[in-house]
Symmetry: C2
């Protein structure tokens, strides 16, 4: 079957800016305006951006600016030292879901947590994650906000996510609630690009309608920091067009969300310059 | 079937010291003496340690010290920008195999290379690796030195190894030469501990007699450097006994090789202190 290559040229309305890309330096209100003026159709705030903010007012601003919310980032870690902490994480995530609901976010991104303190037991952490997501799912349905489980790069297995591959994430979703519209995955090229099985699992996820988010950045060959040295699209080695096409060929067509943590480079530049560069790179390198 | 837990207590004769653990500060001759005096039964030199060294003499020293060579580290990268470079890599690896043969190394460790310069094509790099190993295997058989393909942590996919999981390594071995005594894998806990499928693939590798090496160190939760901040066994979060037992239960029983790159910590300590600590940790934390 022939399918025209649906690049992102002229389609920034299909693209989103995750506010972390701008380094959380301005108010969310200023960021919303800048993102809209740069031509994007979507925005993805972090919970820290909306603390203490009147969400109804923010939602109105976002809508008036012509934007929609691609995702709310991100969950409190489910893995925990004690049962009480695990329950508290679900409660915090429930409250975050309420905010996501107010903003009509397309999904709530789940970063699930690594090993609890003093633990070397990945299986146990994964079981906690399974139970936490299961508990949260009821709230997700009620609040009409799908949960997007995001596998993180294996280099974060200890401290951020014991879910490390797309295959593992899909398998966990199926074990929790198969074919549930409120549970899917977020694909972040930075986390998954290295995986020798990535394309088959993108097909699997897409055919099941489980791709709820698609995050873009780039892997710099000489990465200097494991967390805060992501590259702008085109500056690294990820085959971004191939991953974008793979998702599209399953029916996914956005929003394509830029999420770049870059303490020593992009976070030091003017927000408007960063947004302009994001827009150009989405169209020329993805 | 009941199987007694074969810990490493009192069995340093089953354990090896990879010379990188000591930071390549002394001559290989001094290191051999220190490793033997610390009670180990094996040693694993790097090619840089034996450059310009009379290998027959070195082998005699190693034997006289009561040691054997668990592995020679490591291959020149197979992935390359040009066909000429790829051929040159095989040639350099053939020469390294001759050295490994002189030392009667139990295996030659293959670290296969990441993406060539200006490439974003992992599939193509993997094809080059496939072809390079295939070409080298003939020499491995002739020289009686098995090739141990080592999957590296996915965080090295760009610059060091496009083979990132044990499953992928085993699949590549099977595609090159199934059931070949001269082609197997090296398991390094640092590279594989995060993998949700690791135990099933250790079983698969062990049952096929393909585990040619087992490397130990630890993953520090607050890793500060992607290459040179490995932890001493027990200082990190890897479930070392579980991985050791998994390999043993397939029939593998050593050599267990300590390989710690630690520029700012262990490489600054006295070699004899490091060796003593390695011996103690192998017996208390693995």
């Amino acid at each position: 079957m022939y399918m025209a290559d649906k690049t992102l040229i002229g389609r920034l309305n299909k693209c989103s800016v995750n506010t972390a890309t701008l380094g959380h330096r301005s108010t969310i209100h200023a960021v919303v305006d800048n993102v809209a003026r740069a031509g994007f159709g979507w925005i993805a705030p972090w919970r820290r951006d909306i603390e203490g903010v009147d969400l109804k007012k923010l939602k109105r601003q976002i809508t008036d600016a012509g934007l929609r919310v691609s995702s709310l980032c991100r969950s409190t870690y489910f893995s925990a030292e004690t049962g009480e902490e695990a329950a508290e994480a679900v409660e915090q995530n429930r409250r975050a879901l309420e905010a996501a609901s107010e903003l009509e976010a397309k999904c709530f991104v789940l970063v699930v947590g690594g090993l609890p303190n003093n633990s070397r037991n990945l299986s146990s952490a994964r079981q906690q994650v399974f139970e936490g997501i299961s508990a949260l799912l009821t709230h997700a349905r009620r609040l009409n906000v799908p949960l997007a489980l995001e596998p993180l790069h294996p280099m974060y297995a200890a401290d951020r996510s014991c879910v490390s591959t797309l295959k593992q994430a899909l398998s966990m979703c199926d074990a929790i609630a198969p074919h549930d519209a409120y549970l899917g995955v977020a694909l972040d090229v930075y986390h998954i690009w290295w995986d020798p099985e990535i394309y088959e699992h993108i097909v699997q996820a897409g055919r099941a309608g489980q791709i709820l988010g698609f995050h873009l950045s780039d892997w710099l060959k000489n990465t200097t920091d494991m967390l805060l040295d992501r590259g702008m699209m085109g500056d690294g080695v990820i085959d971004l067009p191939r991953l974008r096409k793979a998702a599209q060929q399953t029916g996914f067509d956005g929003p394509f969300e830029v999420e770049i943590f870059s303490r020593d480079n992009w976070w030091k530049k003017d927000e408007k310059i960063v947004l302009k560069e994001c827009g150009q790179r989405l169209q020329s390198c993805c």
